[in-house]
Symmetry: C2
Subunit: 393 residues, 2 copies
């Protein structure tokens, strides 16, 4: 019996073995500098990139013996240095904690560092690196001592889109144990260039919600994470960011049919990050009969000038979104929460929106800041951790 040999022969015939061995270029048996550990975002055998949790520095390693220039693209461009074995190295200054996409430019070609797992961002599979927080980051880490919900991966057919659409749905740990209980639903959308897996992979939504629910801080809820793109399968592919129609006519009815949900507006919320925040404002403020809670993380609605259409007349708080804010008292009666969050490194825009609305008499407003973080996943994990406990109470 030479079964295993046949497998190896089959692999060689099919050209897989060279790639396999090349694949371990950042893998086991590579020594690490003192104090450094493999990043948690690496593939499981990869030693590099390596992170020093105390100094928050990261060391990158790229094997490219014939390249003239190798650059690390991570918060700017950094020239890597070649050693005498054709291996390129770069150690960063201390980085901001949290999750960062990065790319390696080899002679001007941006490539994904194969030491990293793939994280979908900028409309392609990207490398990423997590600079760990200490104990303050425990809320988004797996906690073996509490009950765990699930991320359910489903496809539903969309007549509007003409395609099956992939969604991820978080259900709380208790869901299967209470076969008659109904749950409120939060629709949670990713940002531009990412996809419906972003919140569960980069965002650690299950760990965050498991912790909040176990601690009694959040009401057990279902979280639906759809794609914020309308993907097409035509010969020339395009995407649109206008998901309101699919959301209202297609996704919400599908969820209410498939899961044990409360179907009234008081038990339905929506939030999103970056472009997903803008999508949330569009969808919710034009469908106030369906949602009573909303959040924008590092991205909210447009009041004033439209940066995508500068020639259009700027809106005001009275005219934006078909005048939904005009009668503040009426708005206050309907919307139970309007949550606006931003990283402090992102600029004053979110705070300006908040103050504009507050001064106009909108209440049930919450303004949340993530200290020291930018337009990145740590900002959004913190936003969700602050937002979710406020819902459905």
């Amino acid at each position: 019996m030479k079964k295993i040999s046949f497998i190896l022969i089959a692999l060689m015939v099919h050209g897989m073995l060279p790639a396999q061995f090349a694949g371990i270029q950042n893998n086991q048996e590579q020594p690490l500098p003192a104090g450094f550990k493999p990043a948690s975002t690496n593939t499981f055998l990869s030693q590099y990139p390596a992170v020093n949790p105390d100094t928050r520095q990261a060391t990158f390693r790229v094997v490219a013996p014939y390249a003239q220039n190798v650059t690390l693209q991570l918060g700017g461009k950094h020239a890597m240095t070649k050693d005498d074995k054709g291996v390129w190295w770069y150690t960063t200054d201390p980085l901001v904690v949290g999750f960062h996409y990065y790319a390696v430019m080899i002679d001007s070609v941006p490539v994904m560092d194969r030491g990293s797992e793939a994280y979908f961002g900028s409309n392609w599979e990207s490398a990423g690196i997590e600079i760990p927080e200490g104990a303050e980051g425990d809320y988004y880490r797996f906690n073996k001592d509490i009950a765990h919900g699930e991320i359910r991966s489903l496809y539903h057919w969309s007549d509007i889109n003409g395609l099956e659409r992939h969604i991820n749905v978080y259900v709380p740990a208790e869901y299967e144990k209470n076969p008659k209980k109904k749950y409120p639903v939060l629709y949670l959308v990713h940002g531009w260039g990412e996809d419906e897996n972003g919140w569960s992979v980069q965002g650690h939504v299950a760990n965050i919600m498991d912790g909040l629910i176990a601690a009694g801080k959040s009401v057990p809820m279902i979280i639906v994470m759809p794609s914020g793109d309308i993907k097409t399968n035509s010969d020339v592919r395009k995407a649109s960011g206008d998901i309101t129609d699919i959301l209202i006519k297609d996704l919400v009815p599908y969820i209410d049919k498939t899961f044990r949900t409360y179907t009234d507006r008081d038990h339905r919320a929506m939030a999103g990050l970056s472009r997903g925040g803008a999508q949330t404002w569009n969808a919710v403020l034009n469908n106030m009969d369906k949602f009573a809670w909303m959040g924008g993380f590092s991205g909210s609605g447009r009041i004033g000038k439209n940066p995508f259409n500068p020639s259009a007349s700027p809106t005001t708080v009275e005219t934006a979104y078909n005048g939904v804010f005009k009668d503040a008292a009426a708005f206050n009666k309907k919307m139970k929460l309007l949550f606006i969050s931003i990283g402090t490194a992102e600029g004053p825009g979110a705070k300006e929106t908040y103050e504009l609305l507050k001064n106009h008499g909108i209440n049930n407003l919450v303004y949340h800041e993530s200290q020291g973080t930018a337009h990145e996943w740590l900002t959004w994990r913190r936003a969700l951790n602050d937002f979710a406990p406020r819902l459905f109470k």
Copy 2:
């Protein structure tokens, strides 16, 4: 309100924008040759690689203006040709239908083509391309006219491994509608270098099972897809392929506690592909009190010489696996199915095993061949499609 501008500024500050625009190198607005369509395995905006479904040819496109040599690694090495814009091209001969990993070598550096989605293989994130079958491939495609099960993503704590372990679990469409019904369970393992997502992503397990169950060919069942590796998070990472202990002591009890399962051996099966097939033989044949059905797809047990330990005495059908086959009548009484499958391009090993066992008097044996396919996912989709209807009847 300049919220959107702040987002763009934040992106630029954090070095994301150049990567974004570089990211669309294979994206929309690229013309396609007549008869070619974007591969279904591409990221959703990528035009290349493109496939001609009639000729089964694929055209690859790589932007690498300063490279000296660009090679496509797909069933051998193929030199790509540079055009006057610094873009490299290669069009294949007709390819075998099914899913193939591929790599692009840019001046000897293997990189993942960013036109492709990421598929975990060879222990890193790899590009892949699906060469579509015609109607005969419908069984693994999404069918909008039938009910759909779900893939549930869960983590469970393993004391043996000292880590949380990720599993995917297929539950049939009817599971939520029958809150008191119990189900049989198939444990289904991936091969070397892949991970617990392989069966649901590359293998399309949900589409295959949804179709078999809707057609009344398969009994509704739960399918548990664990990692076949024991991953460690130590400073120098290592993996082991011996999962029997974790499976028996940790995973099976966790599944029986978490899902509505039958817990007797008659309602528990295990199968795997390649190394996962070898793991199945190890686990099942040493734990016959727990499993009554088993399958090895392009990989089964070792009878005879051990290719990994050539100095060990070869086993015989009487001595292999602690002599479990020796008393054929006793084995036949216990094991309801021993399914052996292979692609015809993989060699005669699987058939030899089958004949060895058959001649020894083992029955309830099934030998299945996938015509014209090799050590790849189409072989394993076909194997599952033939295997699953035989279970739990």
